[in-house]
Symmetry: C3
């Protein structure tokens, strides 16, 4: 549990909040690249850390991420015209470039120099790994580009999506850090693979050992944690995760959802605060081997999320959502999957949204199995408390970009940290 | 009228409020029995006096009514699995029995004794008369089971429904106590019986005498009140109602909606606060004679409510509601019924919801005809003011369970209290 | 820009606010006459300056505008029966005349004089020009009836509509005062007249000169402003507007939307505050010549608004609204009209609603082209500041009822005030 004050401190990320200052020291995803598919395409609204922004791709392909409201009379630039090197407000034609400089104020007299004094708040952006990234912190603290393996592999080797989750970002992150819930929330009750949207196959290593041991290590980038499941003579099934500050989860996925297939796959998530009661979840898989992410893996990933094309709305909200109780099917809950809700990710969203917009952690009762969650909160709180004293938050350097999440069967009782070290830090470093 | 402070005091029922403490000293309906039709059926959400709860029927048929949120990480137990003697959270499998004891924490190490320290807030329940009842007050003050006649007659002799009303509970209760509105709000403008959903027949005793005298008596359980309508040579039509603390209305219904048919029927209502701006109305009829409540009476009751199966949503909200102006039909208002709204109960909800979520009683102007309302408020306020000094609220003993509501034509000028006493207290007492 | 305090002062109009007191010193439209089409027709809800009212037309045709809630128990009189000289509450039959006098309390004893003490708040009304007007200020300050030319021409010469706009009234008014936005927001990108719902034809005088000069003059009724567009040898195209306190815009429309047709037309608007975050916009055109407003002009006006019968809901809300991004068509924005939104008026509503419910004017950056807006705000603020000292707000006398809005091509460099004076004040004065 947290005190009410700690809960407030760790969950709020708006301008001026300590946790908001921490978040503003990292590159954060603002949109999918595919939301701005070509030069001069329509702008999109972006809500990030409580700020209303609009993103656009200009004529030369550069990305702008600026205050949603025109500096003149505060009309929304979402309605704007994206043309000839800038975004133009449709009210009076004021035009801005990707840096927020005002290029034109056509209603002003020809001799006017007003535009030279007008600057729209604009954030640094870069495009990498299928994402548009933003940096909202002080310029002198700008971190190097987020060259994680998932942003650097070829496009063919990555599949990236996003979904709106209607609760505070930390509820989402805590779901990823807590690897044990998978044995419950995501459990399949049938071996019928055609119903796999309701749960993970019961035949995998994870299902075979319901009470894994959990080990957590604080690192310079966040936390390294592992679940170790004894499989008897076969050895120990070790699954390594990374929590990377401030909201990343990297998750070993070589075993597949069913636990049967070997493939060079890592899955990742980011829970990016839109405001205090909403976050945008970026979900991806990537292949670190030769095999690209093919349609089969992609479909499994999407269906595992409970989503076909019909299941996500134009603004990335879920069709299965709080207002319809995530379409829980009580009969399926008895026979097909533990939760009765379709889709692994939808199950996570359902349980996290069911707690309310911001869960009251002062009423929790944590156990031995919550070590990773406790450690994560401690690190987040420490970052929030020390940022005001000039401390840099952990993991804001490039030294963790070679992280990889690994799962493997090791000899029983093996020292997994030693055995796996070269693989855990095995991703290439990109210059 | 009330002062603003009195209005606040008498309407608010959340935890820690004086009126909330009064309410918590009675058995209150939490759900229909039919919402939990069998052992291990899906749990249901219950909102009661501002508290978020979940109700379930366990494997042995016992009813649990517990905090909606798991003690572990606060996931909603509405999503839970109801199985093998308890309700299990789908997040990590923690399991609770109907008393809120934690039976299992499967993610914890085998030797863990954590579960022994975990208790979920749980309320006493009992099942009686087609309802699941809850007691939310101090244990030593638990009243005897609510053995009113309507809970004790055979199932064949009772019909029970519920409907969500979108305003404070007291607006609903005051509608029932105020017997005069029936001559206006519920008046039929046509004798065409096929249009009876729009109003009570104009041929009944009530319609024949628009200005009855009203008499109110404070009792040990609440109020006894009567309307006396002189019918000339035929005598006086006397209709006795009970207001039973804290939110019951018992209403004589022998004359039927049209006033023509004699039958051994009583109608009752409870306005149970969900929160300050919503209440759940339980409506029932029962027969205290040999004749069961047959389909005809049931239909008349349902259609009188303006409801067929199509008129109530899955969460007991009304299809005819505030957002659509209760589907008022202005042409029907000229020709068929006084309000132009279909259904006696819907008419009541419409007028009560039209006042706003919590009516501002400091702007009222009450008249001689509002005696019963004034007396009811006085009793409620007195209970709210004295509960903090250790006083027991009125009617929290079993001595009123033999109440019956009666209507009868008596000789003109008869002393109705004497004439009807044996019938008013005529219901059998159940051990 | 305004300070936060000034913005608050000028936008808030509820009871007791300074700007609200200013507004209450003018006749204001409460409803279209056609909303109350005949004696004893159904009452309608009216939200005006934050007050909940109900309007009705009694048996003799007189208009009442009274508090929405019955003085007895506060049931909504919107549900009331409008019959035999008054509006009757359907709860207990209390009845009110158009002055708010209580005519009947039928549930009270026959000898009761209660009704003589009951008065419902009622406002002065009059009916003129297709509108029901209300006066909500002190009786001794009642201004003469609003005999503007548009209220006095024959019904055949006027077309009047209204639309709900979901933002503060001042955002709407400022759009009208700012004549330059027309060259941007309303610009057509095609000369295809069949697509004119997307923008004004590019062939008009306004389009030919994108940077008109703007002149503003404070007057006794508000502001007179003009845009002067040099057309070269042809002369200057001068377009005169009036801002009439507190929320009128009169706009020259002789040139038509396309700028080609000459016709004796003036267009007008009022932005009438419903509450701080909503206003009702009354839009009209009228002919001051012999030609009536025929179907062609009417259609052009309605289609120009982006509205056919399908585009406005029963409560005058827009089908194209904030929740659906005003159905912006990004392809049309590239090819048909500057905004990609159908309908001139809908374009205005879109841009004004896009600013949020009450725009934060402390973040604006105004330029030379915002003279008229600055002058308007100054006048409004001055009125709000001085009303508490007993000053009468400007334009509350009848001397401005002969105003007309004119557009004309004058010889290049002509002194438009002199040339147009007789036409600007050219409307007849009505006794």
């Amino acid at each position: 549990m947290l005190t009410t004050e700690e809960n407030e401190l760790v969950t709020r990320t708006g301008p001026g909040t300590p946790m908001g200052e921490v978040m503003r020291r990292y590159w954060m995803p603002a949109a999918l690249s595919s939301e701005l598919p070509e030069p001069d395409c329509p702008p999109v609204r972006v809500k990030l850390l409580g700020e209303n922004l609009v993103a656009f791709r200009d004529t030369s392909g550069k990305i702008g991420l600026v205050n949603e409201f025109c500096a003149h009379r505060r009309a929304s630039l979402f309605l704007g015209r994206n043309e000839e090197g800038g975004l133009r407000c449709v009210y009076h034609g004021w035009k801005y470039d990707v840096r927020g400089n005002c290029l034109d104020t056509p209603t002003e007299p020809a001799e006017s120099s007003l535009k030279d004094k007008i600057h729209l708040k604009a954030y640094l952006t870069l495009e990498m790994g299928g994402l548009i990234w933003a940096y909202m912190g002080p310029q002198e603290k700008t971190p190097p580009a987020p060259k994680f393996e998932f942003t650097q592999v070829a496009e063919s080797h990555r599949y990236m999506t996003k979904t709106w989750e209607e609760c505070n970002w930390l509820q989402g992150l805590e779901g990823a850090i807590d690897s044990q819930h998978a044995s419950f929330l995501h459990r399949a009750l049938t071996s019928d693979k055609t119903r796999s949207r309701f749960g993970q196959s019961a035949s995998g290593y994870r299902a075979r050992s319901l009470t894994p041991s959990h080990e957590v290590e604080a690192t310079n980038y966040g936390l390294l944690f592992a679940s170790v499941r004894p499989l008897g003579e076969e050895g120990d099934y070790v699954r390594v995760y990374h929590f990377v500050m401030p909201f990343y989860s990297l998750r070993a996925a070589q075993m597949g959802i069913g636990g049967e297939v070997k493939r060079p796959l890592v899955a990742g998530h980011m829970w990016v605060p839109m405001d205090n009661e909403n976050c945008m979840v970026y979900d991806w898989i990537y292949s670190f081997g030769e095999t690209p992410v093919d349609a089969k893996w992609r479909d499994e990933f999407e269906w595992g999320s409970g989503r076909g094309p019909e299941d996500r709305t134009a603004d990335f909200r879920k069709t299965r959502n709080k207002t319809n109780n995530w379409m829980i099917d009580r009969k399926a809950q008895k026979t097909l999957g533990y939760s009765g809700i379709e889709g692994i990710n939808t199950q996570d969203h359902a349980i996290q949204e069911s707690m309310g917009p911001i869960v009251d952690r002062s009423h929790e009762h944590l156990g031995a199995s919550d070590k990773a969650i406790i450690a994560t909160r401690r690190m987040l709180l420490e970052a929030a408390r020390s940022i005001g004293q000039g401390a840099d938050p952990p993991g804001s350097g490039p030294e963790y970009y070679n992280l990889r999440a690994i799962d493997k069967v090791l000899p029983a009782g093996a020292h997994w940290q030693q055995e796996l070290e070269s693989e855990i830090y095995g991703a290439p470093k990109y210059a």
